[in-house]
Amino acid sequence: MKVLKRAYLAVILIFLYAPIVVLIVFSFNEAKSRGVWGGFSLKWYGELFKDRQIIQALYNTLLIAAISAVTATAIGTAAALGINAMRRTPRKVILNLSNIPVMNPDIVTGVSLMLLFLFIVGLIGKGNLGFGTLLMSHITFNIPYVTLSVLPKVRQLDPAIYEAAQDLGAKPFTSFWRVVFPQLLPGIVTGMIFAFTLSLDDFVISFFTTGPGVSNLSIIIYSSAAKRGINPEINALSTFMFVVVLLLLFLINRRDARELKKNKKKEIRT
């Protein structure tokens, strides 16, 4: 029975990893064909880093992920603090509104944002969809995830600590920065990492809200896959991205483990 269970898990894992392994193995393939092995080579990595279009897309992807994550974190954290200070009814209404972009199909969010941007472009009679609209869309779908990860931390806050800081002579800003903010930090960091990875991974919303000449990596991958041609550079790119993602995951896990340890120590002390 135990062997059977392990075998079943192995089959499912092979199913999940097969495409990833295929991408990685064929990124080192000398031949251009996807079915034939022509010997080991690093040439597609060389081609990848020489490809202007892909490098530009990589740059756009990272820049948008960074700016949108930071902006969404600022707006989302402030929102969590404000929402917590509200009365029950407005709080409920606003929380439900925040859920719209989380629940709404990506394609509907993308299409409706595209309509808004084209409407504004038509209204002012100049400008076009591009980097700016892409960035605004990413900030939009990132904000709710930040708010949702900071809000529980805000609820856990003990208002007495903030008041105590002020009683001891700290100005409101100092008491926020030195006393409240450190307590929110784990939620803020989680939200920011979440926002960053969501932005890296997004295709659908980007596809509808970008303009001529501006692509991110997902858009490049899609257009190259949709042409049904063979592009081994994409394999090299996937391997590269997979390694980066694994590294990020490793860092997050280590952070979580450390926090767990710290909390345990605290429990022992008290």
């Binding site: 079915g35 402030a78 404000g82 629940m103 595209m114 904000i143 708010t147 994409i234």
Partner: protein, 271 residues
């Protein structure tokens, strides 16, 4: 500290980029190209040609969801057993593929399933008959199951891991055989996880347009492709907006059904 006005930027941002765009979509859905009120978009969506696309999307998504449930439940079950060793590592292994860009993973299936692709080379090597499923329903369903299976495993695992194991033991002590224990104790307690797994698979499966367009071929149409087509190829925004509203309605409706089922079982929270 208790200053509700610092959520101001958020409220302005959400109004501008969530509420107004949805109203714009609604405006386009109920007007024609001249801006006059019409329901034409909606009646057109229910013409046989377009209705079959909608029904087919629901059918394909439902089949994929069912396969995910059949494949995913045993995985979640095995991983949640307390006697099972090395499960945190295994659990991590099941979560990692989700972190890779899903376009890349779907793109990779194209090279596996091609007529002269990796799968057929392997089958030829083993002297087995060829399988030619790329650009068919089967390939689309395979792509959906592949992409969304972890969304089924994770919530079911969460529900199963929460079960108090002494309940299982007391059922055994009272003479229940393994099948009865599963049917009468474990399965009912895992329903909330199953329900949220179904929603988390069904919704992206109904709305995706990447999987059908890559694995189904250029002519393959699900509702997502139809919407994309209206906005980016046919430039019929009014019809596209009407279809978007219909898709939203399908999602909200299925959410309501699922929440109803969940409530009947006094299940936990969704997601």
């Amino acid at each position: 500290m208790r200053n509700k006005w610092i959520s101001g930027p958020y409220l302005v941002w959400m109004a501008l980029f969530i509420i107004i765009p949805l109203f714009l979509t609604g405006y386009y859905a109920f007007t024609d190209t001249d801006g006059a009120f019409t329901m034409a978009g909606f009646s057109r969506a229910f013409e046989p040609m377009y209705l079959s696309v909608l029904l087919n999307s629901i059918r394909i998504a439902a089949i994929s969801t069912a396969i995910c449930l059949l494949l995913g439940y045993p995985v979640a079950y095995i991983l949640s057993r307390p006697e099972f060793a090395g499960k945190s590592t295994l659990f991590f292994l099941f979560a990692v593929p989700m972190w890779m860009n899903y376009l890349l993973r779907t793109y990779s299936w194209m090279s596996i399933l091609e007529t002269n692709g990796i799968l057929n080379s392997l089958l030829a090597f083993l002297r087995l008959p060829k399988i030619d499923i790329l650009y068919t329903d089967s390939a689309v369903i395979l792509g959906m199951v592949y992409n969304f299976l972890p969304f089924m495993i994770l919530p079911i695992h969460t529900a199963l891991a929460k079960i108090d194991y002494s309940l299982v033991e007391s059922a055994q002590d009272l003479g229940a055989n393994p099948v009865t224990v599963f049917k009468r104790v474990v399965l009912p307690l895992s329903v909330p996880g199953v329900v949220s797994g179904i929603t988390m698979v069904f919704m992206p499966a109904v709305t995706t347009f990447i999987i059908p367009s890559l694995l189904g071929g250029g002519q393959y149409m699900l509702i997502g492709n139809l919407i994309e087509n209206q906005f980016l190829t046919a430039y019929d925004w009014n019809f596209g907006a009407a279809l978007s509203l219909i898709l939203m309605a399908v999602i909200i409706l299925s959410m309501m059904i699922v929440l109803r089922v969940d409530k009947d079982n006094e299940g936990g929270t969704l997601i």
